[in-house]
Symmetry: C2
Subunit: 457 residues, 2 copies
């Protein structure tokens, strides 16, 4: 029996004929002026605009999409991950069948069911040693950001600092909780510490309360920049001194350079955080798969409640989560948990192939830029990891140029102005090398070169 | 190789020894006074308190838990659902393998990937006919509530109305977006329409803007009450006249009475909504499984943007969702989609066994109350569906009584004051019959009878 064969009257016992919605007058019911101001905000509309351009020109080569490489995904692996996690519940946790089934199917622990595996993973891969109880497993890293900002935004005086250009998801999360974001230049070091201190002092002088600074120290989106160890230590010292938290977002840290010889990795802020100053935001979207939507936040800060009791920030975030999404889907956690278990909780071990693909693509893209643009007034940075390269050009890069690029030249990229959260001319664009082949990169850069030649006259 | 055999130095190439977190001073880092006020709100602490009591007395019989019946869940069914949905992508949607894999694994459509199946389900089971584009698939119904309230709360003048007693998840969602909730009595009809109108007028006179009224017309949590058809039509007419939206939450509608002869179902508000006045909130937690965390919102209202273009409220909610959770996990949607497909999109057909279990349990519970309390100053309502029965007693029911009940009598239930959102004495308690056996109900009610006898002296 197909869906079309079902007669609604057989199964719909209400017996009331459905309203013919086509006869409802096409009057307007609401106006965005009466809805939350974030809905008219550029930050929330950037993603929609960029997706729309991509959808209008499906045949264009995309050097825009920040999605992970997808050729290694296997549908057949999903039941295996589920089975692996189910066996873990029984063999390692000692659950009986009913408990294991309940863990997968029912409402459960708000802070998650793979927090212990995440803690092991953090110690193995990052040298981050934390109490598993300080971890809240979230619906992607986006929910982790919303939980953290919702908690920290106590009133209209509370503001966030963020390295500019900034990931649009952070700006959007801040808009949703009505929290202003004060930009701090990234410069070439990943953050301008003098400007950070000046912005904090300026905000305080204006009666504001800077709560935290959002940073992506490894291969940032969109800048591609990383902070060196000295900058990280200085940033931590500044945070302690100025009494602000650091929100460290690390989606790309495992995609370090594997082509050059020598040391490739710098420890995360959280790994060298000796004062609980860092709230660490984690994502499995790039290391496992985006379609599970599993991320987490490590929030080991100690919080005193009105009754004098002292708990962990993670438990406050958990209360907010219980009213936002209740639980991160247990089945999605089980799939991520199964993959972690298959690799003994090391994602460094699990992502060997991906790391190589990204390193080769980055190298190919940077080589391709040098080949085409060496003699033009065009420059680019040379990130040592991650998905992104930023290209600077001698003219403003606006959305109209992107539309022209897609329509007339068949190549997509991302205008950097979307990452600045304020109007103003920006003369750079972001290229992504994460979902493309070497051949795509060649053709895409040829088309970009044709566009730039046309613009440069 | 087990996790214990892995040497962090082998896989952690940062080479920096982890911080010894046990040496970090145990100073307090933050205070809840500096965090969002919702964290000190009774609504967000109710669930935690109730869970804690349940955890402290694991051997007590629980007539408190609102979780669905779990004995029909099968771990073996999960790969089958995934496979069924995967085949649907290929056979019905015409995707190739790469597109199908991308749909399951990658970032995807913000409004969801099972919206068409949900639309078919709504037409079959509820006689609700809507454009699939008006549906946003969400991380449980909780996210659907947050999206809707976030959109409707444009400023501090915006308030929500809600039938009191109210589901704590609604109160919590409103707190997260700083939206006050004005209570309207449910009475015995499910809503007191005169009071609703009076509260709307009173709010307007006070400079507030009532945006919507939240209702659960079928077997409400916690009251067990349902609205008859005449009340529903009158409520819709009032909403049109007063220009407020109705937020209709329907998690229990399919658990109607199957033991009595005759008509069992009354159409939902959305099924008879001739003016797009209803935003419909749907949940698969009780009909499919909670561990997928899949719900949805139907928001077909037409919205005019600042640029004059007219879109759907669903698309505004989608923008908010893109900054809250990005996507509902595709893998969780695939599992729910697979179950829907196995039953030709009818959950009336898929929940025959569950409907019978709940009907038998309700009947058993109501019979058990009559047997034990007929001669005492204790009364209860007789819901014709859903999970809950409310018992009225001649003394205040506070949290201390619940703790005594758990500790000394071995039975858990829910003090109704948690559902009123304001301090004040409430003389009733909620019993749930959804996760218990007939034997549990017998023993649980015996213990409740002993407690009440003790209280009544």
């Amino acid at each position: 029996m197909s869906v079309a064969d079902v007669n609604p009257a057989d199964v719909n016992p209400t017996g009331v004929p459905p309203v013919d919605v086509t006869t409802i007058p096409l009057r307007v019911d609401l106006s965005t002026a009466d809805l939350h101001p974030s809905l008219e905000d550029p930050a929330l509309n950037s993603m929609n605009f960029l997706n729309e351009v991509a959808n209008h020109y499906p045949d264009a080569i995309s050097l825009a999409a920040g999605r992970p490489y997808e050729d290694f995904y296997e549908v057949e692996a999903l039941p295996r991950y589920l089975d692996r996690f189910h066996r873990h519940l029984i063999e390692a946790r000692g659950y009986d069948e009913a408990q294991a089934r309940r863990t997968l199917f029912q409402y459960g622990r708000t802070k998650g069911i793979i927090h212990d595996l995440v803690a092991t993973n953090l110690e193995l891969d990052e040298g981050i040693r934390v109490d598993p109880e300080s971890i809240v497993v979230t619906v992607g890293c986006q929910e982790a950001m919303v939980l953290t900002l919702r908690a920290l935004r106590a009133g209209p005086q509370d503001v966030l600092l963020a390295v500019s250009p900034t990931y649009v998801g952070l700006t959007g999360a801040a808009r949703l909780v009505d929290m202003p974001v004060l930009p701090v230049s990234g410069g070439t070091a990943g953050i301008d510490l003098d400007e950070l201190r000046g912005t904090i002092h300026g905000a305080r002088a204006a009666g504001l309360r800077p709560r935290a600074c959002y940073v992506m120290p490894d291969y940032a989106n969109p800048s591609g920049l990383s902070m060196d160890l000295a900058t990280r230590r200085a940033l931590l010292a500044l945070a302690v001194e100025e009494d602000i938290l650091l929100l460290e977002d690390n989606p790309y840290g495992l995609f370090y350079d594997v082509l050059s010889p020598g040391e490739h990795r710098v420890p995360t802020l959280k790994a060298i955080d000796e004062a609980r100053q860092v709230v660490y935001l984690g994502s499995f979207a790039k290391t496992v798969l985006p379609g599970a939507r599993v991320g987490y936040v490590v929030a080991d800060q100690r919080v005193r409640a009105a009754d004098g009791s002292v708990g962990m920030l993670a438990d406050e975030l958990s209360k907010i989560k219980s009213m936002l999404t209740v639980n991160t889907p247990a089945l999605a956690q089980a799939i991520v948990g199964g993959k972690l278990l298959e690799h003994d909780c090391s994602l460094v071990a699990a992502t060997v192939r991906e790391r190589e693909v990204y390193a080769l693509n980055r190298s190919h893209m940077i080589g391709g830029l040098a080949k085409r643009f060496a003699d033009l007034p065009v420059s680019w940075n040379v990130p040592t990891g991650g998905f992104f390269v930023v290209v600077d050009v001698p003219f403003p890069v606006d959305d109209a140029l992107l539309e022209r690029s897609a329509r007339d030249f068949g190549v997509l990229w991302t205008p950097m102005h979307h990452f600045y959260g304020s109007p103003g001319e920006v003369r750079s664009l972001r290229l992504s090398c994460s979902t493309v082949t070497a051949a795509d990169i060649e053709v895409g850069l040829d088309r970009l070169a044709a566009l730039l030649a046309d613009e440069l006259g």
